[in-house]
């Protein structure tokens, strides 16, 4: 396969920024636009750019975990967040809130809903990885 130099250079420049932005969306999601789904989509889009540039091998070497494992982990994480609230005597999916002073950032507010969002993030990324893998595979002779 012929690789385009322009695309390769642009991909290298864009990829890390996009992943960082996706993480920003994930953390900002609770009170601002963003969240696990939007963040996951941005990260997935970054992976798609890598796929267009280098094919499924590049994506494979980038994310070594099997997409199904990743998908399952996301689903489990989101569920456990919901169940966790039961253990503390709350309703399913009830959110807890913590506040602490971080050294540089100042006062940081964290909610347990963040873990749910992280689960969603993983599910979205894993789903796109799965599509990329399947599209990149040779068709089995029928």
């Amino acid at each position: 396969m012929m690789r385009s130099t322009i695309l390769s250079t642009a991909t290298t420049a864009v990829f890390h920024t996009a992943v960082l932005f996706s993480l920003y969306l994930l953390f900002a999601g609770h009170n601002q636009p963003g969240g696990g789904f939007a963040g996951g989509l941005v990260a997935a889009a970054a992976l798609v750019v890598r796929y267009v540039d280098g094919g499924s091998e590049t994506v494979r070497s980038l994310v070594r975990i099997h997409p199904m494992t990743l998908l399952g982990s996301g689903l489990v994480l989101a569920n456990v967040t919901g169940i966790g609230a039961w253990l503390f005597g709350g309703a399913f999916l009830e959110s807890a809130k913590w506040q602490w002073d971080a050294p540089i950032l100042g006062v940081v507010k964290t909610t347990s809903a963040l873990f749910f969002d992280a689960g969603v993030y993983l599910v979205v990324v894993a789903l796109v990885l799965m599509v990329l893998r399947t599209l990149g595979e040779e068709g089995e002779p029928s």
């Binding site: 099997h66 199904m68 494992t69 998908l71 399952g72 982990s73 996301g74 689903l75 489990v76 994480l77 989101a78 569920n79 456990v80 919901g82 169940i83 039961w86 709350g90 309703a91 399913f92 999916l93 009830e94 959110s95």
Partner: protein, 494 residues
């Protein structure tokens, strides 16, 4: 308390996640699925007993007030249908583990099957319209995958029309939910019950009809049933069995829930009566014209849905109780028949009537299982189908709907006719077309994991007939809960 209501949805989803992580360990996946589905069954049964004694129970997710957040509600009707469904999900799971199809596609089958379970539970337990949409979508998305497992040409073609028709129904559903929200400002069903009485009756009727069409497509009622006999028979047998038992019943459940809670009618509905009669008749006529066991049974689903709509259309306590009893009986018997059809196919390599014959000598157990559930489907005493149809006919006569009652009796007779057609084609005689016959392998016994759940389901169906008295009383209490919605509203809005 609220934990119990949410558990049937949460457990299978959690198990689906774990099952995906364990995708390389077949045995672990099997144990996980079986354990979690069994847990759902136990929860559902406990829930049924609980709501029967203490009235409807509600769970507020995230502890948001009912009208803002997501509410799950279990009343007698929901808990009963959920219990029967969970039993079917477990039986078909064991059957699928034993069948060759699931062996080849196991790592995908288990997680998706668990997601389907969660979707079914969510559709039955949800307390608001939008979440009903979500529940249906979860169920349908899983069903798209299950239907195309193995991905041969006929499956993909049939799944195509299934996916398209389901998406059209989903679009209509979403539109209906949006219109309801625009008209009333809420999607919580308990809240809607009071707010819908305050809006323009014309808008109310339009919404009622829109929901009827949406759920009518999912439930496969006349004239919206055409997709069902086309798509169901091509899927792998365990998948067809669970679809036949549960998916259309999700639609019927939603019709009953919305028509009784949101759009209650004081007397029998002429529209629903007509639809019911047409569905019964067209379905069974389609079945008679078919020449393949699975296709005949698929048309029977349509015909049987008509009976359930008939009971609802009467809008009387007796009619609704008969419908609830009928749904319980039908889910069990229909699933069993498809499992038996799968065993026939597994054994002889085909389900076409003209290639089969004489199985009563080679497989007396299989013949017995088919006969018991087939006669129950047709409504022959003393099986559960007889009690279900008898109560339905009594309710119909009491409401003065003699024409529909007559239709339902004729349809019963025709159902019996098409069951005997399968019997004569598969179990008696010799194959008509000897040249086409696939040679059976007499030395290979049927997989025990496939036979045991089938026998268990026939036993459940017989148990339903044997305990008809107490189950009928429970159905009557459930029907009373659908008519007097006070306790339901109180549980949600308190």
């Amino acid at each position: 308390m609220s934990i119990l209501v949410a558990l049937p949805v949460v457990l299978p989803l959690l198990a689906a996640g774990l099952s995906l992580i364990l995708h390389r360990h077949r045995l672990a996946q099997r144990i996980l699925s079986t354990v979690s589905v069994s847990a759902v069954l136990v929860t559902a049964v406990v829930l049924t007993v609980l709501v029967d004694h203490r009235g409807p129970q509600a769970a507020r997710l995230g502890d948001w007030p009912a009208t803002i957040g997501v509410t799950l509600v279990a009343d007698r009707f929901a808990a009963m249908v959920l219990s029967v469904s969970a039993a079917m999900v477990l039986a078909v799971l064991v059957y699928a583990i034993g069948s060759p199809m699931a062996r080849d596609t196991a790592q995908h089958f288990h997680p998706v099957y668990l997601v389907l379970t969660a979707g079914v539970a969510m559709s039955f337990l949800t307390g608001d319209l939008f979440n009903l949409f979500v529940g249906f979508e979860v169920m349908l998305t899983a069903s798209y995958v299950l239907m195309t497992l193995g991905a041969d040409r006929a499956q993909v073609r049939a799944a195509m029309s299934y996916v398209v028709i389901s998406l059209v129904a989903s679009m209509l559903f979403l539109t209906a939910v949006a219109l309801t929200y625009a008209a009333t400002g809420t999607v919580n069903m308990a809240d809607l019950a009071s707010r819908l009485t305050a809006i323009d009756p014309a808008v109310r009727h339009a919404l009622s009809l829109l929901f009827l069409v949406v759920f009518g497509i999912k439930a496969a009622i006349f004239p919206l049933f055409f997709w069902l006999p086309d798509s169901y028979p091509t899927a792998p047998t365990p998948v067809t069995a669970i679809f036949a038992g549960l998916l259309t019943k999700g639609g019927v459940y939603a019709i009953i829930r919305t028509q009784t809670l949101l759009f209650p009618s004081s007397g029998a509905s002429r529209l629903l009566l007509t639809v019911a009669a047409a569905t019964m008749l067209i379905g069974v006529l389609g079945a008679i014209a078919q020449n393949d066991v699975k296709r005949i049974l698929s048309f029977h689903i349509v015909s049987q849905i008509g009976y359930m709509i008939f009971g609802l259309a009467l809008f009387s306590a007796a009619g609704l109780a008969a419908t609830i009893f009928y749904i319980g009986h039908h889910i069990v018997v229909k699933t069993t028949l498809f499992l038996v059809a799968g065993l026939i196919e597994e054994r002889e390599g085909t389900a076409a009537l003209d290639r089969l014959g004489g199985m009563v000598r080679r497989q007396p157990l299989l013949a017995g299982l088919f006969l018991l559930s087939g006669l129950s489907l047709a409504g022959i005493p003393p099986f559960s189908g007889f009690i279900a149809k008898l109560t339905l006919v009594q309710a119909g006569v009491a409401a003065g709907t003699d024409v529909v009652v007559a239709v339902s009796l004729v349809v019963s007779l025709l159902t019996l006719f098409s069951i005997t057609k399968i019997w004569a084609g598969v179990f008696w005689g010799e194959p008509e077309d000897a040249g086409l016959q696939v040679r059976p392998h007499p030395s290979v016994a049927l997989p025990r994991l496939m036979v045991v759940p089938t026998v268990a389901l026939v036993a459940i169906s017989v148990a339903i007939a044997a305990n008809a008295g107490s189950l009928w009383a429970l159905s009557e209490r459930a029907a009373a809960g659908l008519i007097d919605t006070g306790p339901y509203l109180e549980a949600v809005l308190r």
